[in-house]
Symmetry: none
Subunit: 233 residues, 4 copies
């Protein structure tokens, strides 16, 4: 994830009062801001805390970001750099069953997004979208639409190849997305501070979701009987 580029070994050197590290600063600040914004929310995070976590003074932050709001926008943008081009290419080249493709999607998502700080953006957007409509629009174009499109293509491939049952794709994508996005949010909220969450192993969560989804998408020999309200006595 982009943020990682910057953290590297910032801690390893002794900082003098006026050490110049101009090109490293923005990344360090963005990483610090991401962490705190995700943890405490935008409004409850003080710029001084961000600066402190990045190892600089309050004033320095404002050299690189004109305002707290600009910092927020930069955090979101920084962590959304188009990964979709790469993923779409992977989709084109994938050889294998659609079930495998879907499993790969989920695993890769966890590996590259879910388990990294980038997953914090999901929680951040959910928490702050309504306070930053401009960012919400940006996020919709940069993440939601490409994401839906990609998952839609994966599912459609399965349908086209007779591997998945036909579904309304508009809602179908959420079969895959909802469990993953919930995981991302859970991880950064209750999962980070309550017992129930502490015990959840993401890989196991994903494994069960994957098999259930695949089973759910499969074409059954005998469909389950349509239910009538409180049918059986």
């Amino acid at each position: 994830m982009p943020v990682k580029n910057f953290d590297s070994d910032a801690q390893s050197c002794v900082h003098a009062k006026h050490e110049r590290r101009k090109d490293a600063r923005p990344g360090e600040l963005l990483a610090a801001a991401l962490e705190l914004f995700v943890e405490k929310g935008f409004a409850a995070t003080r710029v001084e805390e961000v600066a402190k976590l990045a190892g600089v003074s309050k004033g320095t932050l404002f050299i690189y970001f004109a305002s707290k709001e600009e910092l927020f926008k930069a955090v979101v943008r920084e962590n959304i750099s188009g990964r979709f081009e790469e993923w779409n290419a992977e989709f084109e080249n994938f050889q294998g069953s659609s079930a495998d493709m879907l499993r790969y999607c989920l695993t890769a998502w966890w590996e590259h997004i879910g388990s990294t700080k980038a997953s914090g953006i999901t929680k951040l957007m959910m928490s702050e979208a309504r306070n930053f409509p401009e960012l919400a629009t940006f996020y919709e174009h940069e993440v939601i639409q490409p994401g839906h499109a990609l998952i839609g293509r994966v599912l459609q491939r399965g349908v086209d190849r007779g591997e998945f049952r036909a579904i309304d794709m508009k809602y179908g994508v959420y079969i895959v997305l909802a469990p993953m996005l919930f995981l991302a949010m859970w991880k950064h909220s209750l999962g980070a501070c309550c017992d129930a969450g502490a015990q959840l192993v993401p890989e196991d969560y994903i494994a069960l979701q994957a098999e259930t989804i695949l089973n759910g998408l499969s074409i059954r020999q005998t469909p389950p009987p349509l239910s009538q309200k409180n049918t059986a006595s």
Copy 2:
């Protein structure tokens, strides 16, 4: 809605016009606070706005709630009042297939929680849990654990009756919960302010999730082949 509990008997007192609904104040404040906290988050909501929305002055709010934090806690507590006793009773009395039971769960959840303001609590907890650990614990005991237990019983009933395949219940409950909780959060965040979200019809979303989950939990005649990494050429 839980909040209503508070106002409910407010009508019964007959005073002069100007003093009417005096004991309804806390309920009105809680409703206003829920709405604004959900929309803007705790920190970004001003108590004056809450008071205004409730039709009282800022000072009045502090007569009923010692601080903004106490107001927040009251909002959460008030809106997760134990409905589980009732629901557990429904579970005991339910006559019908486990598939129907699960469908009923999802439908009832939407009707009583998802579509009401109470769903905002889910978003609130996700956004603020880490700032209110005490509340997170409370929420875990009052909502998460009973919720998991209830869903767990529903699924276990299906397994026990040979209707659902056996799964690790610790993760199994999320098969049902994740799509619903994601819907609740989405509705109050991006869904409330971006195009993609505007077009989502919750009932249709839930219907597809329900059938997919049931299909996913079903015992298949022929299980899908275990996948090897990039099996087919």
Copy 3:
């Protein structure tokens, strides 16, 4: 002067912490702001000082004025309330020589403007006009133009009646205005802090200016010889 309306006996009562004097506040704040802005300039005056001088807290100031800049604008506007209507009426009704009229102008100006806090506005505008173009335009319309017009009428009356010699009125008005405005500015700057200024008695200053101006405007029997450069002695 408008400002005076407010100072009255503010000091005479004992202030409790939360005493309510809502309608008196703006005036007290404007008076305090005028004093400090004139003394130290806009930028060098801190809002907290203004509040303190007005006997309120920092926060209170912002209840009445949205920003420091709005406070500044209000100070200027407050002290410019149209006195010109009244003065123009006086002009119409004046019975007497134009010399007397001019003397009366200067005396009245000192009495109602020059000697009061309102004269500080002159210094304030001179110091800050270029930082507040919007206010400069406002001041031009509300003060400069009516002022020039009024003085112009007074002088023109004298010319028309054969009392004053004919002059280009565009520059003529400054014969009267310059000495008065200089006095106002001097009084609030060097005059307030240096020995030379301390000894200047405004009434005497004005008396001499008046007689010299009148003499200067008079129609001489024998005009002074046109000078050639460095005429022989």
Copy 4:
């Protein structure tokens, strides 16, 4: 202009291109500072702007001036360098009528001070005198007292030679000074940003002031009758 004194011999040093004019730096900084201080006032001028206008970095400014205040003081001191010795010499040598002498004073003042950046000092002192008492005292000794003395001598010469009427010199000097100093201030404040000011031609302004002052100082054949309040015409 005084500032030039500083640069003057800067051309004589022959270095490499990049090092050229090294010793001109302070002069360039002072010129830049004068311009900005006059335009925006001391407090509202940022040292970075001054440095930029002088073509150097912020840090460089502090090599030459210990603080912003010191820079301000240097600007004032630099621009009021004693021209009075020269002017007093001119006074001694002047051959001609006192009227001519006075006309020459006004013309020369405009030429050497009024029309140059040095006139900005007048505005600067008026605006900031009370924030810099030390400078005010300095200014009083270096400018005000010599200036008053010089003008006083000119007027006294006229009186002594029977050319001007006798006046109290303490106030008499302002007959000459007030219109000129007002012009200087006007030019750098409202005159620089409002329509009324834009149309004022200084030479014409001075010409009319000169003739009116001379007329006003002249000994009249028939003095104007002492006015009684509202005397009938």
